[in-house]
Amino acid sequence: MSSLVAARDVAVGYGSAPVLRDVTFTANPGERIAVLGPNGGGKTTLFRALLQELRPSQGTLTTTGRCASVPQTERSRLDFPVSALDVALMGTIPGRAWWRRPTRTDRAAARDALKRVDLADRAERTYGELSGGQRQRVLIARALVQNAQVLLLDEPFTGLDTTSAALLEELLRELAQEGRAVMIATHDLEQARRWDRVLCVNGRQIAFGVPAETLTHDVLAQTYGAAIVTLPGEDPAAPHHAILPPHHHHHDDVPPH
């Protein structure tokens, strides 16, 4: 099984000093990889490197599958006059000369993608009028339209109710099962434990591996610094770790434009 992403000793950043370094991991088809780290720890930077928006200053980053990003829904404008189908159709932009309009094939692909995320009946609805979970799935459809084999999701569960979150988690499981690698930036340790790999970053890669072996107190302490507490569990051999939630949500590893 060949990997879709292979990173070796990658350092990446915006200026001379890298925001993230020592990154070495592989993403294989079928894997869900949790990317854990504090805000500003380099999660977004890693994604931007995978999307080839940033070039590593060091190391080698090989992506054999096309990467597509699924941004947070709150970063898109809810007051924008676009339908769910319009948003999915934006996924056809990369393959098209800039003066060309979407073709019939493009439209069919966008509708298929919406169907894949169970939103076929919402195609004509205004994006801003959909629920948070539905909006997230529209953005996933936009990534699917790009024929992405690697999906990069930026905290997709933020703000979702439990039903929407369960629906989304099931969708991500299926998308991975179909042969994609799904990388998910998250703060939710319990969720991360259910997935195939975890990648912990905080300015550098702290650890990468299967959750059960990787998510030790030591690794989490290095990943989150002081913001970690150990909850007393029923089984003293398997204490539960929890991360104190960040006060507010921002991406301080993105330079101001």
Binding site: S69, M90, R142
Partner: protein, 286 residues
């Protein structure tokens, strides 16, 4: 039916003169470019930028009037200088972009006013400030039509990139759309549109046609294509209505058009408010 004949006469009478026919074509052109480009201006929150360009180009227009060269040329040079001045002022540390723009634009506008009020200045400076749609020449119309065609073509071609960048800048970058290129394109198109529209509506009123119809249309629909169509129609109605007002009430044409554009926005606001009260506000679930 003498009554009908009277009505038809009243409607047709103003446009029996070539001057009014040219004015009519000019306001229709303005409505088309204002309605379409205006939607991107409103969605991109670029109204202040559009107004700044229009005001900042004033010295260029005055100098062109003084030198007797075509206003279009003077206006183009004026817009370039204004854009440069805004960009330079923005580089001064600790001013802030909006303040820098305001300083640069006010300075330029003041300079234009100084030139305009000199004793050598020919009459007709008023026209630069408030427009002279009735003074539209065939040459103006041709140049205007060419510029409007160019703007429409560019909007049509760049539609999906404009949409992606406006919807979500970061996401657009991941789709291979450079938001900065999209911004630059949009500002260039705004400059072209201002150049065309300043002839009819003048320095001070030009923004009305670029902003008001689109702002009104935005209140009435949730899709881009109908928004543009509504904005174009609103612009046309206000334009034609303004010409009638000017003809029968002997008021300034540019000001009448601008006034009707704003009235159209207020009506749309009222319509949107009534319909949302009738429907009851429904928030999306989950």
């Amino acid at each position: 039916m003498p009554a009908l004949a009277t009505v038809l006469d009243t409607l047709a009478d103003p446009f029996s003169q070539a001057l009014m026919q040219r004015a009519l074509l000019e306001v229709l052109l303005l409505a088309v470019v204002g309605g379409t480009l205006g939607c991107w201006i409103v969605l991109g929150e670029l109204s202040y930028g559009a107004e700044s360009l229009a005001h900042g180009m004033f010295p260029g227009l005055v100098l062109a009037a003084l030198a007797g060269i075509p206003l279009l040329l003077g206006g183009a040079a004026g817009i370039l200088v204004a854009a440069l001045a805004v960009a330079l002022a923005g580089r001064v540390p600790a001013i802030g972009r909006d303040n820098a723009t305001a300083v640069a634009v006010t300075t330029l506008f003041g300079l234009g006013a100084l030139l305009a009020l000199s004793p050598d200045t020919p009459l007709g400076i008023q026209g630069l400030l408030f427009g002279d749609v009735l003074g539209t020449t065939s040459g103006d119309l041709l140049a205007g039509a060419a510029l409007v065609a160019a703007v429409l073509l560019a909007l049509w071609a760049a539609h999906w990139r404009l949409l992606a960048a406006g919807f979500d800048r970061d996401g657009a970058r991941a789709l291979g759309v450079a938001p900065l290129v999209v911004d630059a394109l949009l500002l260039t198109l705004i400059a072209l549109a201002v150049l065309v529209a300043v002839q009819g509506l003048g320095n001070l009123l030009v923004v009305a046609v670029l902003v008001a119809p689109a702002a009104a249309a935005r209140l009435l629909t949730r899709r881009l294509a109908p928004m543009m169509a509504i904005a174009v129609v609103l612009g046309m109605v206000a334009g034609i209505g303004g010409l009638y007002l000017s003809y029968y009430a002997s008021v300034a044409a540019g000001a009448s058009i601008a006034g009707l554009l704003v009235a159209g926005y207020l009506l749309a606001r009222l319509a949107a408010a009534t319909s949302s009260i009738r429907k009851g506000r429904t928030a999306p679930a989950g």
